[in-house]
Symmetry: C2
Amino acid sequence: MSDTKTPALRLNGPVLLQQLRELGEIGTDPVAGGRTRVALTDDEKAGRDQVVAWMRALDLDVQIDRIGNIFGTLPSATKDASGQMPRPLMMGSHIDTVVNAGALDGCYGVLGGLAVVRAFRDAGIVPSRPITVAAFTNEEGARFHPDMMGSLVHAGGLPVDEALDAIGTDGARLGDELVRIGYAGEMEPGTLVPHEYLELHIEQGPILEAEGLEIGVVENLQGISWQQITVQGNANHAGTTPTRLRHDAGYVASATVTELRRIAVESGTTLATVGTMKFEPSVINVIARRAVFTVDMRDPSEQRLAQSEARLADFLTKIAEAEGVRISTERLARFTPVVFNAELADVIEACVKRRGLSYKRMTSGAGHDAQMIARIAPAAMIFVPSRGGISHNPREHTDDDQLVRGAEVLLDVVAQRLGVPL
Amino acid sequence: MSDTKTPALRLNGPVLLQQLRELGEIGTDPVAGGRTRVALTDDEKAGRDQVVAWMRALDLDVQIDRIGNIFGTLPSATKDASGQMPRPLMMGSHIDTVVNAGALDGCYGVLGGLAVVRAFRDAGIVPSRPITVAAFTNEEGARFHPDMMGSLVHAGGLPVDEALDAIGTDGARLGDELVRIGYAGEMEPGTLVPHEYLELHIEQGPILEAEGLEIGVVENLQGISWQQITVQGNANHAGTTPTRLRHDAGYVASATVTELRRIAVESGTTLATVGTMKFEPSVINVIARRAVFTVDMRDPSEQRLAQSEARLADFLTKIAEAEGVRISTERLARFTPVVFNAELADVIEACVKRRGLSYKRMTSGAGHDAQMIARIAPAAMIFVPSRGGISHNPREHTDDDQLVRGAEVLLDVVAQRLGVPL
């Protein structure tokens, strides 16, 4: 750092890969494979401690807020007109996982951010505005609801006291668990409003791999509609009840799944998934009295998502009448689509082009902390390919060179935004 | 019986109804309702003891065979040319139940048979051939497989030693349980080959009630095809996997259910039911990796049943190809349709007409002991209406006057076959 000539920014790929491996070793499951670092468990505390240690090794200012979000900040040289430090350029994601997860989901965004900061440290460059790396609490929602909780609280979408009172699937109170693991910070959530936010992430889908592309420039994120649908019919004998006299809850549920495929295909943009399905009484020769299933619908366009929801509702009305069953629908979640900042997406695209990488502008199918931060700051995301589209699974994989390439793009974007020559 | 003038045969309805109530009290479940007399349990032993006591009260010859079938015989006056008692006219059914059953399924056929014998006793008429009332072991198959076991063994369709070795859902051996409850008889199964067999039963379906009819003249019994189908696809993220790249086991299973309805409607005679359906991993935002479901198909025509099976197999081949999934099919059961004895059915119809009752000739949708006995003797069945078609349920119900009417028809048919003037 005392060299007379400032070296150019250069991403240290081996350190990034090594840290991904080391963090991925915390909470490993030797039997089922992968690692399990569910939010605010002992294993996740160990992961947090490791990340904080790496932040301190880079001499970052580490701050913890009341919901347990971790922020590591490389300060800027300059203050603004009012003598305040300028708002930070923030990068981040999360380090909590689902059960038997891969090593990359979330961690790649946090450690990719640290890799960018490391490049500034290695080059001895003090940035024109602070650079903050954030690890948000409970993105996965595997233990506490809602998911994306830390970023949601940070963005002011959920009062922190309400979040602290969340009760986990194991009966534990979130606030108590934060105290227990030593991550109940004092900073008020939302204190560090970013100037801009960037999130580097694996795609968790098969599109980039299928199209042979290296980078996804994520310009928006799908709206999500989750419903649970209950069909109440009559349990009758499979051998003695004529088809016309049936009130078959299982048939109605199945016909709805079939119709949802039609809705998805005809809309062209809606994705529709029925991942859970239960019949009662679940006996081979008894017509199902009751069927309960969930519907996950997504679309980047709010108008088309609402259209697909309406088509489903219309179908349910008609088939309930035709089969003589009662259908009730419970809304489990509804997020309108998020459009990321176009200027940031353009900068990402320009950086990708400059490196001669193949890419596409694309939609994020999954939810990410970036969609919460987008409420309070310009935000965008960078995707790298996921092999087979697999995530939330020990088989989650992205090649090392793809991981390094994505972090290099992130570094380029940060450099560009902070006026550092590339 | 010593009257100089023989009174006419008259069915004692109140005693029949009282015995149905008394037998129905054995094994009642005060919490879930109904009664549970699963084959060869203590409660079923209590039911057997009650039936045997009633047989003895009518001074019948009670015989138990090695599979535990109970036969109560009213001897005839005459012997045949070889000095043997003629083959009996047999009536029967079973008294074992499913869990939380109604009071009528099976019991009505046994106690209806006793009511017929009682009419002969009351009238002091000694029949021209023996009249036997049979209570067959384990018709329901709720604990030991296969169902209709006692009548199947009786008809020579299953070696008795194999049946005795059946292991129950609770791990018990059937032969040991027979010994334990005192119903391991010494008579070789099949000793009492009936001259003719009649089974009185509730319909267990909604047809008679829906058409406002009093009696069903059962002339045949559907063939049954049971399959378990497993679809193996890929679990991928619901939000990131384009529809065209999905290998959705849940969709394929659901589309199959939808297609089965089409097969049933288009065939006109096939019934198709999917009563069980399981998705894995059963997560709202994960495409189902695996779906397992059962198919119950029935048709009175073997040719049309086979056609419907072939249509299903064809559909599975095509959709497996289209969606890129693997489908495997396991055959769980297959019975060809049974055609009952036309002459017996004609006699039943004539007796019904003579009483001025409304009726239809119909197909039994469920399986019954009569289908096994039909292998060794002319057999037919008489149905009375089931309210709402409900059976295997505490809400199983037939009005008292309908129950008595059915038994009166049975008595008329027996009288006609034995040459007793009506």
